[in-house]
Symmetry: C2
Subunit: 348 residues, 2 copies
Amino acid sequence: MDSVNRQWRLVRRPVGAAKVSDMEFHEGDIPDASALADGQILVRTSVFLHAPTMRNWMDEPGNNYYPSVPLGAPMLATCAGTVVASKDPRFTPGDRVTTIGSWQDYAIVDANVMPVRPVRPDVSLVQAMGPLGMNALTAYMGMTKIGRPEPGDVLVVSGAAGSTGSVAGQIGKIMGCRVIGIAGSTDKCNYLTQDLGFDAAINYRDTNVEQEIRALAPAGINVFFDNVGGEILQAAVENIAKNGVIVLCGQIAGYDNSEPISGPRNMMRLVYGSVRMQGFLLGDFEAEIPTATDQLWEWLSAGKIKHREDLREGFESLPESFGDLSKGLNDGTLLVVTQDQEAHSTAL
Amino acid sequence: MDSVNRQWRLVRRPVGAAKVSDMEFHEGDIPDASALADGQILVRTSVFLHAPTMRNWMDEPGNNYYPSVPLGAPMLATCAGTVVASKDPRFTPGDRVTTIGSWQDYAIVDANVMPVRPVRPDVSLVQAMGPLGMNALTAYMGMTKIGRPEPGDVLVVSGAAGSTGSVAGQIGKIMGCRVIGIAGSTDKCNYLTQDLGFDAAINYRDTNVEQEIRALAPAGINVFFDNVGGEILQAAVENIAKNGVIVLCGQIAGYDNSEPISGPRNMMRLVYGSVRMQGFLLGDFEAEIPTATDQLWEWLSAGKIKHREDLREGFESLPESFGDLSKGLNDGTLLVVTQDQEAHSTAL
């Protein structure tokens, strides 16, 4: 049993990208099980996910549409771990779960407010956070519930080499689409076409994305799965087909800015194109997550979906490795393993 | 029988609002029935609709999402009239139809390209263009196919005193919504609340729309029916509820500008709010227009929907009265009657 609870607390609102100095390391007592209120569970964390949207959670409160971590509190984060105490009848000590906890070894989670999802006994916590994790599930819901392409449709994915985008594109292939990925380096583009089976890839850093999409898909985009926003979204809007769908999954281009990120410049194209542009969150489809998890696991086991995790070691590294995410220095879903044995073993 | 075919031709691309001097009056021969190709019909026009979106059709070609009237050609317009010759087996001389023709007494219409809709025998062409016309049908489709509010939802309509908006709001009342209209004068606001049964109205010229919506609908907007765009859309986005829907019907605020009209400034609200923003055109639902027409007629006959037409007289007045539309000088759906007797009689 541990003797201290380590935390990384948010102590400054980042200006631009989040810096290590915006966080402060802290060691304190492990919360006592008797401190739990009804509906709460105490989770010993083993794996943390770094997701781009967490940068939004570091901003000032004041908008009512996403959470703002209070200054001085441990940074909010998706994590996996083991229940060590529970005052929610659905959970028992020893249960392995994924949830939204925070950057600390022991997190009290209100299971009536935050999603707490059991982990299949045959997968490790790393697998539950990687190939079956929030990003993969988000890709699944975005494609099957929002994008809903028909076989033969042209699917374009931005942030395509990222954790969510790479799965979205591969699901697009399974659904019978022609899939074009947009990513930020030649290596990433090669990964998409050579390893993941994308039909084409566009390196946005060295080409005119709008023209390149037009060349690759002269009849237009049927479904655009957008993780990036900004100029990349604009390029897609210029190429959207009649009745096209824009799946608003993320708008990474705006996360490090103090200004909110703008929408398309030519709204009439959405009107005359009968375009549906739709945002969503994974949590909108909470009831369907078990089915989605089973489906993803089947595809993964059959080799129809490939997934890469970029594993970092050690609780100490949390703020530094988060910085790598916004710099694009990760190579797959960025996970930080803080308890090695628990992270890699299954329950079987 | 007439001896000449009068036309108003577009001879200049308007800068800002369309001016009478952007058009040129012309008299020529009436097209001969023998000139018709297969699938074409010759229509003698009696009533023309002035719709804000026609301003877009006066712009340069070069985008591929709405039509551009060639310089020197008669101005494209929704109209009603009588078939005088037909090489389409579906139509016979004497049939009364609405279609997209042009500013001339005799328009050749390709019935395989343009919508040609028969007029019920019990309604006049003015009624077919007004309470049962394109704008009313657009409102019907926008509400029932795109917005799809639930009873108890908060519906906000921009351009609410306009031809489309006023019908959209009244359909919202029929669907059980709490309806708030946004319009540009005290008179218009009074019309909405006192004559049309809207629950509240906001005069955007003398108040902060964003704050006013917040005061009237603190739990947020469930469905926003947008005819205007720009800052009005922005104010609605700031107040959109979780799972809210934005029906993109028109973006009038941008029609007189040379720059395309921009979308919302804070796209993350669409993501985190799971907001669906969807454009549409009436023609997307062509097959359902007869049903919609019957339903509208039933509501009108039962007094559940009220409709105002602003009738102008005379072919000569077409360009001048179009100018009144962008100045907001119309009082209801702006129709120009060019053949008095045909316009006002039924076929019974």
